[in-house]
Symmetry: C2
Subunit: 151 residues, 2 copies
């Protein structure tokens, strides 16, 4: 079986996973650092989802590192199915969280009283990072889904 | 090739498409009827996306009706690829629109001044209908994606 770039156990997949984790951590830092984010449900949702994306992506990055360095891809159908399902679920959750945060921030910024420009910019950056994390998750899940029938 | 229930050209697919169109129309009606929805970006986004879902689902429902009644499934790989891509794009867009609307409504309801309870309930219902439409779109796209490698 040839290695599909971006599928589990390749160096492209490792880059995607690291990108997801980095953007998710950036989103968390923009949202949580010195801010009382828990007054809005959407922001709590974003923090929860990004808090799930970070360990998920890091675990799969470790799997990729093992595969790349031992040059032996782990291609068990059961494991790959679980990874594909997890990827898709997190993909939908992160899109939902990112869109909710963006729209709530837009409303808060429009009303002009609930958050200052500096604070709202941080919310917007957090939402943008979550969106980028979703984008990379989408690619990971598409590549793994493509690989699934051939395992 | 056996017919996969829910894939293009089956009666299950016809039910899914009709369900999507009905929920999308319900979402549009709850949002647009006698309401100035265009003061919020999220609501305009929802109306745009649902306005795309309705003709898309109805067109594919017509294709399904033709297939069911002539008993001859249209299984061209190119056509199916376009349908799968369109389904996935609309799936992501409708999830984003539904989540944005739900979170904005939650903020408006929380602030208590921008919309009354009756108006906010209509926004919430519209968001719920869009969410149901997304759910059915997800199933359609999954079934068609499953069928794609065997075409």
């Amino acid at each position: 079986m040839e290695a599909l770039p971006g599928a589990l156990g390749t160096s492209a997949s490792l880059s995607l996973r690291l990108g997801q984790a980095i953007f998710a951590v950036a989103s968390l830092l923009f949202m949580c650092l010195d801010i009382q984010f828990y007054s809005y449900t959407s922001f709590c949702f974003l923090v929860t989802v990004m808090g799930l994306v970070v360990p998920w992506s890091l675990t799969l990055a470790v799997v990729d590192v093992c595969s790349v360095f031992t040059n032996r891809a782990t291609r068990q159908p059961g494991l790959l199915s679980i990874i594909v399902i997890g990827d898709w679920v997190l993909c939908f959750l992160s899109l939902a969280a990112s869109c909710s945060t963006a729209s709530v921030t837009s409303i808060l910024l429009g009303s002009g009283r609930f958050c200052g420009v500096k604070l709202c910019t941080r919310y917007q950056l957090s939402s943008a990072m979550a969106f980028l994390s979703w984008f990379l998750l989408l690619f990971s899940s598409l590549f793994n889904l493509w690989l699934l029938p051939s395992v």
